[in-house]
């Protein structure tokens, strides 16, 4: 889906996912590593405030990835 959106609509897509090697294998271009498979975009074990901080940081990183010019598959650590 990531590739198709980019190909068909020319919209840059950031993929947040936990298992980065799979994202590389399937051809995602902008990859932001997620937290864990059961909760890729949060840290429930850190409580409400910690969870929110994780989500905010991930989202800001995803925005930065979206704005970044790339020429090959890039992982935004």
């Amino acid at each position: 889906m990531t590739r198709e959106i980019e190909n068909a609509a020319g919209i840059p897509v950031v993929q947040i996912a936990t298992i980065v090697p799979i994202m590389l294998t399937v051809g995602a271009n902008r990859i932001v590593p997620g937290v864990a498979i059961p909760h890729p975009t949060g840290s429930p074990e850190l409580g409400k405030a910690g969870d929110k901080a994780t989500r905010r940081e991930l989202l800001l990183r995803a925005f930065k990835a979206m704005e970044t010019e790339i020429t090959y598959q890039t992982v935004f650590e």
Binding site: T18, I19, V20, P21, I22, T25, P33, V35, A36, I37, P38
Partner: protein
């Protein structure tokens, strides 16, 4: 270590006054067996059913399978930490009701248990159509937390299996199998010329009812460790898994692990079998990197020259499989991996979620998405409607006449990745 498996061949199972085995028939006192399980107060209802090979019977949904066994020496019981005192297994004498199996049946997660047909086209894909089955059909008390439900079902199955063997253990064995092997230094001194081979057994260790136990320890938060093969063949590993039915290693499978058996059979002849590394499949990337690194570290410390890696489950564990293959190959240790494939109903899709060029030797145990037509059975044990929620099933799978159209993955152990079955994929 020297392990003797004292096997009594079970060719039939019947209800009886007294639980015993006689002339190949396992007689079970139904009420006494129910009472054994019912000691657990979190079961609201416990019933037992029997199912024999060839019968027109469907059992659904099944969580685990356990072979009835008990230690004849040492502290007794079986599965240390569960139904035996904590202590090392793999030594001494073990009594086995060979050909019998306890199956635990109850809808826990509702989507990751499986079914068994005792006859018909679905029967050939599971080993439990060929065993004499004692099925534990249970319902939990109202509002019981799923983790507790899984725990009591897991421990109840182990308890019943050990109890059955305990009642029968005075019966003379039909055959005694011996597994004997020394420590790694002892065997390496004996066979200095033979290539050293280690087996990495990957296990689902992902929490949320996806767990595997070694000596009753949930190994999700631990590091990979090393077991003597006798420990694996004698109850060190227990499944606590609610993963897709087709490629879960049931507790029954662990004690019958064909990779362990095959390496053992070649030990001292073609190779030097170093042991078994039960390892993790983590839900976080660092966990996958850590486990695969530790697998390599243990193998290198022991001087391994070759490794066999088996997967459990599919999807994200494919990355663990690739990391293992890559680490071993890059370290100069030849690796062979055993896995099933999720290649779509037409078999045309990429079969693993991940790939790596170092994975050069791959043994397939079949395509989990292969579709199968199974006819109605005269008797259904359990809850047939649960097929709608099982992986490999769908709302329309169960037809009004009782027949089903399902993926292979709904059948227990149909693509077991320790290579138990005969299903594979053809070279094209």
């Amino acid at each position: 270590m020297r392990l003797e498996l004292h096997k009594v061949k079970v060719r039939d199972v019947q209800w009886g006054e007294k639980t015993c085995v006689k002339d190949g028939v396992l007689y079970v006192n139904k009420q006494a067996a129910i009472n054994c399980v019912k000691e657990e107060e979190r079961f609201a209802k416990v019933d037992l059913e029997l199912a024999r090979p060839g019968e027109s019977t469907r059992i659904i949904p099944i969580k685990d399978a356990i072979e009835p066994r008990v230690k004849l020496t040492g502290k007794g019981g079986y599965y240390p930490g569960f139904s035996a005192p904590m202590g090392r297994c793999g030594d001494g004498k073990t009594f086995v009701l060979d050909g019998a199996a306890v199956l635990t049946c109850g809808p826990i997660v509702a989507f990751q248990e499986g079914f068994v047909d005792m006859s018909g086209p679905g029967a050939v894909y599971t080993p439990f159509s060929a065993t004499q089955n004692i099925i534990m059909v249970v319902e939990p008390i109202k509002d019981l937390d799923p983790h507790q439900y899984e725990l009591i079902l897991r421990e109840g199955g182990l308890k019943l299996a050990v109890w059955l063997a305990e009642q029968c253990k005075d019966a003379p064995a039909d055959v005694v199998e011996v597994f004997e092997k020394g420590t790694v230094p002892e065997e390496s001194a004996k066979y200095p010329q033979l290539p050293k081979v280690i087996y990495v057994c990957m296990n689902i260790t992902q929490g949320l009812l996806h767990d595997t136990y070694v000596y009753a320890a949930d190994i999700r938060p631990s590091l990979p460790t090393l077991l003597h093969p006798n420990e694996v063949l004698d109850g060190a590993m227990v499944s606590g898994n609610c993963v897709s039915a087709c490629d879960k290693n049931t507790t029954w499978h662990h004690v019958h692990n064909p990779i362990v058996a095959a390496l053992y059979a070649r030990h001292g002849k073609e190779l030097n079998f170093l042991g078994v590394i039960p390892t993790q499949e983590s839900t976080v990337m660092d966990g996958k990197l850590r486990a695969s690194q530790m697998n390599l570290s243990i193998a290198r410390e022991l001087g391994a020259e070759g490794v066999i890696v088996s997967e459990e489950g599919y999807g994200n564990p494919d990355t663990d499989l690739c990391l293992n293959a890559r680490n071993f190959e890059n370290a100069g240790i030849k690796s062979v991996v055993v896995s099933d494939e999720a290649a779509g109903t037409d078999g045309a899709s990429q079969s693993l979620a991940d790939a790596t060029p170092e994975m050069t030797a791959f043994i397939s145990t079949g395509n989990v998405n292969e579709m199968l037509e199974v006819p109605a059975m005269d008797k259904v044990i359990g809850w047939p409607e649960t097929i709608a929620h099982l992986s490999g099933g769908a709302a329309e799978s169960l037809r009004e006449d009782g027949s089903m159209f399902v993926e292979m993955q709904a059948i227990i152990a149909s693509t077991a990745e320790i290579g138990f079955n005969r299903v594979g994929c053809e070279w094209i």
